[in-house]
């Protein structure tokens, strides 16, 4: 599906014509990321992060498959085989640092991608399915990242596995059996490692599958854009190739610069020294924290300290999962007909307060569970839910939005020139 003015795929070479009859793969590529996919002409660099997330997943799969050639899950072998990768395998240090920091890069670009969607209203109709599939990908990413972090079998791995599976222990009645079922025992051990390794290998391919659905669903209405105004005419679009292949290519270059700086200059920046100590079931590290990308959720988990009808432990778990599940309803919570934050002056302020709130949650989640961080987490958690459950519905009722441009072309060229400029696709 595309706009009616999408340029049709017309293979010139006889071989390509032959190929097009038998297996129209080049046609698919042409229509998905080639000259046959018209894209709003005004996308800014915030629209790079979907491609970058796909790139990060690809790099994780490549480095991950390679490390699976050298890694041995098992209570006695896991930690040593990771050291074997670091010290003995040719360029193993590079591959492991690329994989560990690749996870951070994946989350960085994904968070930017999500906040881009929040700011420009990309979750609204007709893109609700794109948004919800994206959340499914996000949940799968978190499960994958968590299980991957357990595999090196350091102290943080072990206690992370214990604490996170302990979340399920908060479920009334069946909690403890579920926790034992997840771990394959009473505490994380060899059965945990072998099943986590198997699933950690599987889930990235499930993610890849959901990404296909995500892109499929996206390509039906086409990309949103910074104005949030629908595409109306050929003047509003340019072909994906070469315009956005080049723009994404530039983003890829920046991505690799940051990634290389992490791998080669600060490979353990996001890591924890405790994870270079082999798992010890008899000693918990003084300060256990998850990886940075879980910190906001970890802060929400710890924000509940008093039993209120339900036990505090259960409240924490419910709030943590609720903070993400809530986002599935966002397309219906935010009823404002204007998509882009560019034309929603009040929404825009609250958007940045939400960003700040999540950053504060993140900071608290990475800090020890003591005052003042507990109280700050509680306030920030309350605000997080307030934003989605109260502020957004009220905004969609009372906010006075700015006038929208008549078209994307007009917003780019000004109203006097929009009529005369030829569509760039002719160039």
């Amino acid at each position: 599906m595309s706009f009616p003015w999408a340029e049709e795929y017309k293979p010139k070479h006889p071989f390509m014509r032959w190929m097009d009859e038998k297996l129209p793969l080049p046609r698919l590529v042409w229509g998905a990321v080639g000259g046959g996919y018209p894209v709003p002409r005004n996308l800014n660099y915030m629209w790079n992060f979907g491609v970058l997330a796909g790139l990060a997943l690809t790099l994780q799969i490549v480095t991950g498959i390679i490390m699976a050639m050298h890694y041995q899950p098992g209570g006695a072998t896991a930690f040593n085989s990771v050291e074997h990768i670091m010290r003995d395998v040719n360029q193993g240090w590079f591959l492991r640092y690329a994989h560990a920091n690749g996870a951070s890069m994946f989350f960085i670009v994904t968070y930017l991608h999500i906040f881009r969607g929040l700011y420009y209203g990309s979750y609204k109709a007709p893109r609700e399915m794109v948004w919800m599939l994206g959340l499914v990908i996000f949940l799968l990413m978190m499960a994958t990242a968590f299980m991957g972090y357990v595999l090196p079998w350091g102290q943080m791995s072990f206690w992370g596995a214990k604490v996170i599976t302990g979340l399920f222990g908060a479920i009334p009645l069946v909690g403890e059996p579920i926790q034992h079922w997840l771990l394959g025992g009473y505490a994380p051990d060899e059965p945990t490692l072998t099943r986590f390794f198997s699933l950690h290998y599987l889930l990235p391919f499930v993610i890849a599958g959901v990404i296909v659905l995500h892109i499929w669903a996206l390509h039906i209405p086409g990309s949103n854009n910074p104005t949030g105004v629908d595409v109306k005419s050929p003047q509003d679009t340019v072909p994906f190739h070469p315009y956005y292949t080049a723009k994404d290519g530039f983003g890829v270059g920046i991505f690799f610069l940051v990634f290389a700086a992490l791998i080669f200059l600060a490979p353990n920046l996001f890591g924890h020294a405790d994870n270079y100590v082999e798992a010890n079931p008899l000693s918990t590290p003084a300060h256990i924290v998850p990886e940075w990308y879980f910190w906001p959720f970890y802060a929400i988990l710890r924000a509940f300290t008093v039993d209120f009808i339900l036990p505090a432990k259960l409240w924490g778990v419910l709030a943590m999962f609720g903070s993400i599940l809530l986002l599935f309803f966002l397309p219906w919570i935010d009823k404002s007909p204007v998509r882009s934050g560019r034309y929603r002056p009040t929404f825009r302020v609250f958007f940045w307060i939400l960003v700040l709130d999540v950053l504060v949650l993140g900071y608290c989640g990475g800090s020890p569970a003591e005052e003042p961080f507990v109280m700050i987490s509680q306030i920030a958690t309350a605000y997080y839910f307030l934003h989605f459950l109260v502020i957004l519905p009220l905004l969609s009722m009372f906010e006075k939005t700015l006038p929208l441009p008549n078209s994307i072309a007009e917003s780019v060229l000004g109203s006097d020139k929009a009529g005369e400029a030829a569509p760039a696709s002719a160039a």
């Binding site: 390679i66 050639m69 010290r87 003995d88 040719n90 360029q91 590079f94 591959l95 400029a421």
Partner: protein, 188 residues
Amino acid sequence: MAALEQSELHDAHADDGVRRRDFLNLAAVSFAGIGGVALLYPLINQMNPSADVLALAQIDVDLSAIEPGQAIKTIWRKQPVFIRNLTPREIAEANAVDVSTLRDPQTLAERTKPGKMNWLITMGVCTHLGCVPLGAGEGEPRGPYGGYFCPCHGSAYDTAARIRTGPAPLNLEVPDYEFTSDTAVRIG
């Protein structure tokens, strides 16, 4: 946008007919291409033997208990090595062969160390497809030429472990080794 297109047109009229954009395209794509190829190196090289495997690439063997006529099998780089103490009759048999008639012409002297012609040290890996030939163990058949015999595809080696009949193309390989004393060798 219109102004930009005009300036590109202007560029196209430069003397050599090459636009700045052509150069930028070429430079950007080549840079990415070279980076991609460079990235392949660690992805491929990681499958080569790792440092701990290479560290096992040298072994010391004590020969003092091997009587003339006896052979032992040992393991080097996870592969069998045959160490045989040849009898004077076996040495004479090996030296009696006209080297020019051999498939892989080599004398026994070339396959042993000077003054140690009785110590025949070879890989226990048939040069055909890698099976372990028989003949080093007690009571194993030694084939029609009295050396080693590979049961997989019938290659027969003589008392200097040279290929005589069967499909194998080369003599059993002699690994790098040196005598560290009269009764000890270091292989690798």
